[in-house]
């Protein structure tokens, strides 16, 4: 075995395999990059949606929630919360936090203005329209 399959051959498989599959990945990513704006309606990324996204990120919402399944598993999915609850519920919900119910998981109070709440909801609405190959399986997320 020592002679038949040498270390140099193993190294070449490593380098060749890495370069080959990296090249394929880059090519696929270029195509994915072209398709994403269609699948997520990037043309609807208005100033309000962008600001809503900034609020979600800079308050670390995914420290408890998931967005399209990514984040933490402590609180409900946000990718489809707009479909599940609608805009008014969401705004009201954020305003009345925390519930303070003993033992129940608590969401912190975020001091958003009405304008900020509108932007946030605009972003959540935008999220709910992404073509995610039919995930989550139902509205519960």
């Amino acid at each position: 075995m020592q002679q038949v399959f040498t270390k140099a051959m193993a190294r070449n498989i490593f380098l060749g395999g890495a370069v080959f599959f990296l090249a394929i990945y880059v090519a696929l990513s270029v195509d994915t990059w072209r398709q994403i704006p269609v699948r997520d309606h990037a043309s609807e990324l208005s100033a309000a949606v962008r600001h809503g996204k900034y609020l979600v990120d800079s308050n670390n919402c995914i420290g408890c929630h998931t967005v399209n399944g990514e984040g933490a598993y402590y609180a409900p999915e946000l990718g489809n919360v707009y479909t599940r609850r609608g805009p008014d519920f969401i705004k009201q919900w954020i305003k009345i936090q925390p519930t303070g119910v003993p033992g129940r998981r608590q969401m912190p109070h975020f001091d958003f203005s009405d304008a900020e709440l509108n932007d946030l909801v605009a972003y959540l609405q935008w999220l709910s329209h992404i073509d995610t190959n039919h995930w989550p399986p139902n509205a519960e997320g």
Binding site: F21, L45, S58, C61, G63, N68, A72, Y74, P76, G103
Partner: protein, 465 residues
């Protein structure tokens, strides 16, 4: 240990273990908040305890990898480290920056931290594992550059073994793969797509190279097996890692808005990702069977054998269970993912760090191996931590399965919060197992304070003095 400059690895290892303890304490807080949602609220909301837990994990693993590099690269290159003083200064910079960041998480609301650190100018905050404010991220890059400069110069002036080239190359890869952390597009789908370059790129790509290099080094040193054989194995293993893992990243693209073809590509390629982990097991066992000498450091042997096995269970087995698109449809973003994340991170990267520490620390403390009593403590720690982590993974898997059935299937799915209430028993079990894990970690840490050296060498030393 043959070179004085290797001593600089010691503070890195000590700090890694201290931060590991911190990680576990905050894991226990977050775990308890799962069963009592008002615990420590609003002083430490769950998002904060979780962020401290996961960020400490990353920081202590990086500490351990850096310590390993400063220990291994000179030894392999057969020359002193290029600049031990730079390595020591870098250590303090990293430790202080890390500590300040954790303190900021605990003391300042996240959005205020973002506002105070220029996040609006270049947004990078608010993504899993990459929550650090901009100055910390820049600091991480600078620390990495200092490490890379130091070990690359060492590599160039000394012997260039394949093992050393792989290790140094993989550390370059680690730093390069961190750079997408600065790219956070406003399009959420593109942002997710790029986030996985860091996360998947690290744990299922580059870090597996580091894992192989550390294990390979330990095995060469402990068994005396011919380096050519070890290095050939390493190349084959890391070849399989990248052949499966690069396109395997597609298993994160099924349900985030990326095109449908990733469902096929991701499933096929990620399904073969367990192969390099299986090969790691075969490799370690074969090298240990071929060993040409008995090493008195039995604890290090245990870690070296345990690492590939638990890594396979966590990454290979638990990962494979959720990697096929039809299964992930129900498991995605559930506590099943957390079960896999825990067992894989622990089995692969925590355990290999503890393995190299177990091998190197006695040498850094001027002995071939610890005494029997210390090794008993260490090996008890090994078993208690491994068994507790398996229990954590089982409990979280139970919770994930309930989510799949109650919340995601059927005509009358339960809401998220109602489903979580059903899973309460699993969260209690996880917390219980977590306390077990802490006990194991404490037993492990005790081993460092038990005096004594391995019998034979201690006897020789006494006779010579």
């Amino acid at each position: 240990m043959n070179f004085r400059s290797q001593l600089v690895a010691k503070p890195y290892f000590v700090a890694a273990l201290a931060l590991f303890l911190g990680q576990i304490l905050f894991g226990l807080i977050a775990g308890f908040q799962y069963v009592d949602g008002t615990f420590l609220f609003p002083a430490i909301p769950f998002s904060v305890s979780r962020m401290v837990h996961t960020n400490l994990l990353i920081v202590w693993l990086l500490m351990a990898f850096m310590g390993a590099a400063y220990f291994i690269v000179p030894e392999e290159a057969q020359t002193e480290l290029y600049s031990p003083r730079l390595a020591l200064a870098t250590f303090w910079v990293f430790l202080v920056a890390g500590a300040l960041t954790i303190l900021a998480y605990l003391l300042v609301p996240y959005s205020d931290l973002a506002a105070a650190t220029g996040n609006a100018m270049l947004p990078t905050m608010g993504r899993g594992y990459l929550e650090q404010p901009l100055p910390t991220k820049v600091g991480i890059v600078l620390v990495a550059l200092s490490l890379l400069f130091n070990i690359s110069m060492t590599l160039f002036k000394g012997r260039r073994t394949s093992l050393n080239v792989i290790l140094v190359g993989a550390l370059w890869g680690l730093a390069l793969l961190f750079l997408p952390a600065f790219y956070f597009p406003e399009d959420t789908v593109k942002a997710s797509y790029g986030w996985w370059w860091v996360v998947h790129g690290w744990v299922e790509g580059d870090w597996e190279l580091i894992l192989s290099a550390l294990l390979g080094f330990i095995l060469i040193k402990m068994t005396g097996v011919d380096r050519e054989i070890v290095e050939k194995w390493m190349y084959v293993i890391i070849a399989m890692t990248l052949i499966s893992g690069i396109i395997g990243i597609g298993h994160h693209y099924y349900y985030i808005g990326a095109p449908e073809y990733w469902i096929w590509l991701g499933s096929v390629f990620s399904a073969i990702e367990p192969i390099p982990f299986i090969m790691l097991i075969v490799f370690s066992i074969r090298m240990l069977l071929k060993r040409r000498r008995e090493n008195p450091n039995q604890a290090a042997m245990l870690w070296a054998l345990g690492t590939p096995i638990v890594a396979f269970l966590g990454a290979g087995l638990w990962g494979a269970m959720i990697t096929l698109a039809p299964v992930q449809y129900y498991a995605h973003g559930s506590n099943f993912t957390a079960a896999h994340g825990h067992l894989a991170f622990f089995g692969a990267y925590a355990m290999v760090s503890l393995a190299i520490i177990s091998y190197a620390m006695p040498l850094l403390r001027g002995r071939v191996a610890n005494g029997i009593a210390a090794q008993r403590w260490e090996m008890s720690g090994f078993w208690i931590m491994v068994i507790s982590m398996l229990a954590i993974a089982l409990a979280l898997s139970g919770a994930g399965i309930v989510t799949a059935f109650s919340q995601r299937m059927g005509d009358h799915p339960l809401s998220f919060m109602d489903t979580q209430a059903q899973e309460q028993v699993f969260f209690w079990l996880r917390e219980l197992a977590g306390v077990g894990f802490l006990a194991g970690l404490l037993a492990y840490l005790v081993s460092f304070f038990v005096p004594g050296e391995a019998g034979y060498d201690a006897a020789v030393k006494r006779a010579l003095s």
